[in-house]
Symmetry: C2
DNA sequence: AGCGCCGATACCGTTGAAGTAACCGGGGCT
DNA sequence: AGCCCCGGTTACTTCAACGGTATCGGCGCT
């Protein structure tokens, strides 16, 4: 794929926007670990790819809202599928990994 | 996710193994661009995670077969879904990207 | 002896995503 | 004046993935 849904943050941004538009700081709150720089890079890349829209309101304090486009929403089922896979199979994978660590030790 | 299906090669390896076990050089052939080093790194990581098995036959010349485990096969539907998404929506995404490039120029 | 096959491994360099820390401007509040 | 809020930007650094080239060991073939 020529773009990275597998980016560290793209998927989580989509999850946060599922329920409707969110502001920059509203995105930062649930994603504690993301720095403003990385978040703004992620958002700009997603806007460039037509996955979300950025709307600035000329108010005070400034307000900027990010919202998924229909194209962005088409990714939700894929994320759901990935999440379902993780719920079902990730324990097996981690168990396999641990047993290999045991072999090595 | 704590492991990278989004790795550059993991998905393609799964595709190549869908139809049955393959040897190291049989994997290299369809994946022309992959160097032996990167392929063996990918395969070892996948084996560690229980996605495939490695079987060495003590013959001459040496023969090693890689085969998907049941766990590895559970990823195939996800790859199918990703491929279907690409077929349907990737053109839209690329079109959006191009129109942003035009804005910038 | 020299060469090739197979399945790698060693060493080293490049690249790009991600993280860290600091700062900015415009407005309002005290 | 000094501080906070919001929505970022800039410069610098770190780190793992990826890639290129060279090489290895065991064996057989000629």
């Amino acid at each position: 794929m020529p773009f990275r849904v597998g980016d560290k943050w793209t998927g989580m941004v989509i999850r946060c926007l599922e329920g409707g538009p969110r502001r920059f700081t509203e995105l930062r709150a649930p994603l504690r670990a993301v720095t403003p720089k990385v978040l703004s890079e992620t958002l700009r890349a997603m806007e460039r790819d037509g996955l979300l829209t950025r709307t600035a309101y000329d108010e005070n304090p400034p307000r900027v809202e990010y919202a998924l486009t229909p194209l962005g929403r088409t990714l939700i089922p894929l994320l759901d599928a990935a999440r379902a896979w993780s719920a079902t199979h990730l324990p097996h994978l981690l168990a396999a990994r641990r047993s290999h660590e045991r072999d090595a030790s």
